[in-house]
Subunit: 176 residues, 2 copies
């Protein structure tokens, strides 16, 4: 099934995507690349929020997304770091429609807390893959923080990776 809107995100065992002060130093685990690489191979385009883009643009070293189109949802002026980046505007439906066109039938990787939340609430996310890093943080920024409603999901699969990382995949149930 191609052309899916997918979320791929890592959390602590207790469900945080960052520490209380945005710490992400714990976001490493043996096997993390083994789970990202096959996911990313199916991605045709990325749709991300502005804050997430700024984090990626701030990385030293190589641009992490190759030459895949990166659509950044933003109303502010954007000076793209690489030529594959462009700004997009609109509600969740319009944003995803543009990203799907850019993906050319392959998957769209939706990234960024607020954007994921609004796409989830609009019923537009097809699949969510969560990699659980083997650490208890105790406090931090919760996954899907502030989603406006509950969403029933279906477990598609779960597998340990590299011995200590757990990858689980869910599909939101339609109409939930």
């Amino acid at each position: 099934m191609a052309g899916r809107a997918r979320v791929f995100i890592a959390t602590s065992v207790d469900g945080f995507i960052a520490g209380p002060n945005d710490e992400i130093d714990w976001l490493t685990a043996d096997g993390a690349e083994d789970t990202f690489t096959p996911f990313f191979a199916d991605v045709g385009a990325l749709l991300m929020g502005r804050a997430t883009y700024e984090v990626a643009a701030g990385f030293e070293g190589e641009w992490p997304y190759g030459d895949k189109p990166v659509l950044v949802a933003t109303h502010r002026e954007l000076e793209p770091k690489v030529s594959s980046v462009r700004a997009v505007q609109g509600g969740p439906e319009e944003l995803l429609a543009q990203a799907k066109e850019a993906a050319g039938g392959r998957d769209v990787y939706v990234d960024g807390g607020k954007l994921i939340r609004s796409c989830l609430d609009a019923g537009l996310i097809d699949e969510i893959t969560i990699s659980i890093i083997p650490i208890i943080l105790g406090a931090g920024i919760p996954l899907f923080a502030g989603t406006e409603q509950r969403h029933a999901v279906e477990l598609v699969g779960a597998r340990p990776i590299g011995g200590n990382l757990l990858e689980m995949t869910y599909r939101p149930k339609r109409g939930s």
Copy 2:
């Protein structure tokens, strides 16, 4: 390995043990009993916080823990609902020592948010089993809320149960 201090708890996909107003109506899933029954068979005694005891004591119908000793960590007067219940006092080490004695070499089931947290921070928890209910809540009471430090853990196992529930088991690493 008998005589372990074990945590057995259910969370939403996004790591909440209850909704923002303590809602637990979503805490049901096919297969939930299949995972609790074998766990509970190895339990010799329960050690729980006062708030958790009050919830259990308030359930209508049969007392859920059979005749297994239930030690309630509380400084306030306690009128036990059944004869297997008694009040205990002390720091985490003392509480667990009493519970292990009551368990007679079998496992101690440690329950209740604050008590789990203090035992975890004291390095006294041997194993944590988390059953992930297939729902995204978006907001609520986080698992291990307020734990004072980070804890590295080791993935012991993960298995889908009843098709849609995911049970994962971790061991805190010593000295972390």
